[in-house]
């Protein structure tokens, strides 16, 4: 992306036919500290440039100086909306380098909790996306359901948001006593609530006019940019890592993958809504077939993966979250690289936004479902 010239003087504002608008890093709807420099003709966007890095913490470098078990809590702070999924990709990568066999029960509980996390993340997306487009009430409704999930997380992990969920080789402890009944209650109540949201939005004239045909991206372009997750499936590309390279217990789960057609904001909205239904379906299956047994594999005291490199990825709520790990045989990794779905999805913002209005840029940022913690790492 080429750099947009930033007009600074008072007169440039008046004389120039184009106006440069600096959106962020403090802005209510850039979902964190994203800075977007917009070049406007009237209110039409003719160019834009994203400026990221305001939340950079050097996670990957820190990871080079930590032992394998110590890195996991850092991973929770990548995509802090979906800490459980992030944690899973780290522990599974290490487990596979070590060749550990995680017990079946642990896999099932991992599946349940990552899917619940996907629902929680999508609910937050729904609330903020609707808020960006002006429907305020949905946010609080979505948070009401998210709260139920966070309560389960709190009881299971002791934390609600950054819930250091897993250990290499399994889980820190078994599911708590009422785990199954809590999850079942959520699973039973959730579809009703989801229908409520759809009643307010899906057929709403203003919602349709704000989302249909906005931020269109074709399947080919989406693949070329490297989009993943709902943003890719909204364009009609059938790709879901839960199906293509199943991890945890997904190989034994029965679920469908929703695919959009137009690749516009409305399709991505529908895809995410349907994904929540499918996630619920997975959770329901997993909780009904939850096997007994231990939740931890036999893990050596010192985790020293053999020399080599390994890439593992899972289908996070926002897209493919991957981890590339290079080990030199010591207790600390030689190099860790995260494949950040939000960062790569954000690259589509420019293509999607040019020619639209300022209000649409906000809607498109919302539909890409970015989290700055993961973009800046």
């Amino acid at each position: 992306m080429h750099q947009v010239e930033i007009a600074t003087t008072k007169n440039a504002l008046m004389d120039a036919p184009q106006m440069t608008l600096n959106m962020g890093p403090q802005h209510p709807s850039t979902h964190g500290v994203l800075r977007v420099v917009l070049k406007l003709d009237g209110e039409t966007v003719i160019d834009l440039d994203c400026d990221v890095g305001y939340l950079h913490r050097g996670m990957e470098k820190i990871a080079e100086n930590r032992m394998y078990t110590m890195i996991a809590p850092y991973w929770d702070r990548l995509d802090y909306i979906a800490a459980v999924s992030n944690g899973l990709v780290w522990v599974e990568t290490v487990e596979q380098m070590m060749g550990l066999d995680v017990p079946r029960r642990a896999h099932y509980i991992r599946t349940i909790l990552t899917e619940l996390n996907r629902i929680a993340s999508h609910l937050l997306w729904l609330g903020t996306h609707a808020l960006d487009i002006g429907a305020i009430t949905i946010l609080l409704w979505a948070f009401r359901e998210r709260e139920e999930i966070l309560k389960i997380f709190e009881r299971q992990f002791g934390a609600r948001l950054t819930c250091h969920a897993w250990r290499v080789g399994g889980m820190p402890n078994d599911a708590y006593d009422d785990f199954a009944s809590d999850v079942k209650r959520f699973v039973d109540n959730f579809p009703k609530r989801l229908d409520e949201y759809e009643t307010v939005l899906s057929e709403n004239r203003i919602w349709l006019s704000r989302t249909v045909g906005i931020g269109v991206i074709s399947g080919e372009k989406a693949i070329a940019i490297g989009l993943s997750g709902p943003a890719l499936r909204g364009s009609g590309v059938a790709w879901d890592i839960r199906k293509a390279r199943p991890y945890a217990a997904y190989a034994e789960m029965d679920f469908d993958v929703p695919l959009g057609e137009n690749g516009d904001t409305y399709d991505r909205y529908l895809v995410r809504m349907e994904e929540m239904r499918q996630s619920r379906r997975i959770v329901k299956q997993a909780i009904e077939n939850l096997p007994d047994g231990p939740v931890n594999a036999k893990v050596p005291k010192l985790i020293k993966p053999p020399v080599g490199d390994y890439y593992h990825s899972i289908e996070g709520p926002k897209g493919e979250i991957g981890c590339y790990l290079v080990s030199d045989g010591t207790q600390q990794p030689w190099r860790v690289r995260v494949r950040p779905p939000s960062f790569i999805n954000l690259q589509a913002l420019k293509q999607m936004s040019i020619g639209h209005l300022v209000a649409d840029v906000v809607a498109i940022i919302g539909t890409l479902d970015i989290v700055l913690g993961e973009i800046d790492r």
Binding site: P28, D132, K243, V257, E261, E274, P306, V358, V361
Partner: protein, 445 residues
């Protein structure tokens, strides 16, 4: 209590004042001052508690409680808010145009409050002044509010504020056109521009103009909401795009003035809508039960309450819309204003004119008897009313038809056809990266 005493016994106050002042001073200075004081206090209180109501109503819609801490059920919250805003720092940005920045909020609040001078809150003394061009006065003065928004947006020297100001000026100018045109239909039946006259026309006919003018009422309400910059038309202050729009740089007391202006403008629009279409302070049976039996003051006070209740219902509509609907986009808003509201208002005028002509034409000694009297508005007999209402209903369908004809090729006309259903695909399962097996597999490198 003094306020209540004043409401109940204005004649007593009148005689008391006459002991100290000349009759002219009482009639033209003191009595209007009392009225102005009353209206401003009551409206300010109403505005303050409108914010409380809005917070409570939105809270109930959103499964929460709303303000609960200050006073019982948070009833003192508006006062706490006001104190907080008054004590905040009055911040002025470095490169702002200081004088305009100072003046803009006052213009906003004055333009909003001054309209109340002609609004008939009730019969007799419950209206400050009955101007015979009341409707024009309302339209003219409320347009001044735009000026405040533009000045505020311009003087802030912020791009968000500037964009907000540009949006607001375009929006308010476009919707004022259809708002003004929508009123004409009601005025044809009222045959006067005085707001009190409009209410009396409805009272003496014992009918609300809403029945004659369903289309006009809808246009007026939509344009009113747009004119007030309220959701779903709150583009000038669209918080998700423009941070806070034209008042991004304002804080503390000046910000609260804008806030007050917004709510007062809402109260004004609901009051004018009530006056024009919902019969103002007129309510069936109230006259017969009070005034006819000689309880004049009771009649006035009950009428006042009727008026506030009607306006309150419309105000609730504002809150309801705000907390359920997403926001329009700027160009869609303009489309709605110019392609839907304006033609609808024009059709409404034509149909109403035809209705009035037909009613007048049918009224002859040999044929039907449609007109009762012309003393207060167009006094219609029952058959005249039936014809007028029938025209109103026909107008609904006619307007819908013509508007669809005009707009059927536009993008937003049939959005439901444009939306696509998503497909559910059961993808084939690939080779598992991790499989939940209990057997020991060979270690990976």
């Amino acid at each position: 209590m003094s306020v209540l005493a004043l409401l109940a016994a204005p004649s007593f106050v009148d005689t008391l004042l006459l002991k100290f002042f000349s009759e002219q001073t009482v009639n033209y200075v003191i009595w209007p001052l009392i009225q102005v004081g009353l209206v401003v206090t009551i409206t300010a209180g109403w505005v303050a508690y409108a914010t409380y109501l809005e917070r409570k109503i939105s809270a109930f819609m959103q499964a929460r409680l709303g303000p609960m801490r200050v006073g019982p059920w948070g009833l003192l919250q508006p006062i706490a808010d006001g104190l907080k805003l008054l004590t905040k720092e009055d911040f002025i940005p470095e490169n702002a145009d200081r004088w305009i920045f100072f003046v803009a909020p006052y213009i906003a609040v004055v333009a909003a409050f001054i309209v109340l001078a002609v609004v008939p809150f009730g019969p007799d003394w419950a209206v400050i002044t009955d101007v015979n061009i009341g409707v024009l006065f309302v339209l003219a003065v409320s347009s001044v509010g735009v000026l405040a928004l533009i000045l505020a947006g311009w003087s802030s020297n912020s791009k968000y504020a500037l964009l907000g100001a540009l949006r607001s000026s375009a929006q308010m100018v476009s919707y004022e056109v259809s708002m003004g045109l929508a009123i004409i239909g009601a005025l044809m039946f009222a045959r006067t521009l005085s707001l009190s006259g409009v209410v009396e026309a409805q009272a003496s006919n014992s009918v609300w103009f809403l029945l004659y003018q369903p289309v006009g009422f809808m246009i007026f309400l939509v344009s009113g909401i747009a004119e007030n910059n309220r959701a779903p038309f709150d583009l000038p202050e669209a918080e998700s795009e423009l941070v806070a729009g034209f008042h991004t740089e304002y804080s503390g007391f000046r910000w609260s003035l804008f806030f007050m202006a917004e709510y007062t403008a809402m109260v004004v629009v609901t009051a004018v809508a009530t006056t024009l279409y919902l019969g103002g302070w007129y309510f069936p049976f109230v006259y017969r039960l009070t005034e006819a039996k000689g309880y004049h003051s009771v009649y006035v006070v009950v009428s006042l309450i009727v008026f506030l209740a009607k306006a309150g219902l419309l105000l609730y509509l504002y809150f309801w819309l705000r907390w359920t609907l997403p926001r329009f986009r700027y160009d869609q808003l303009m489309d709605l204003g110019w392609k839907w509201m304006l033609p609808a208002a024009l059709i409404n005028i034509v149909v109403t004119a035809i209705a009035v002509t037909v009613i007048q034409g049918l009224d002859n000694p040999s044929g039907m008897h449609t007109i009762k009297s012309l003393s207060a508005g167009l006094g219609l007999t029952v058959s005249g009313k039936v014809i007028a209402i029938a025209f109103g209903i026909v107008n609904l369908f006619l307007t819908a038809g013509v508007l669809s004809l005009i707009n059927w090729r536009s993008r937003d006309f049939n959005l439901k056809k444009q939306r696509h259903q998503i497909r559910l695909v059961d993808l084939p399962k690939g080779k598992p990266a991790v499989a939940p097996v209990e057997t020991v597999s060979e270690a990976r490198p």
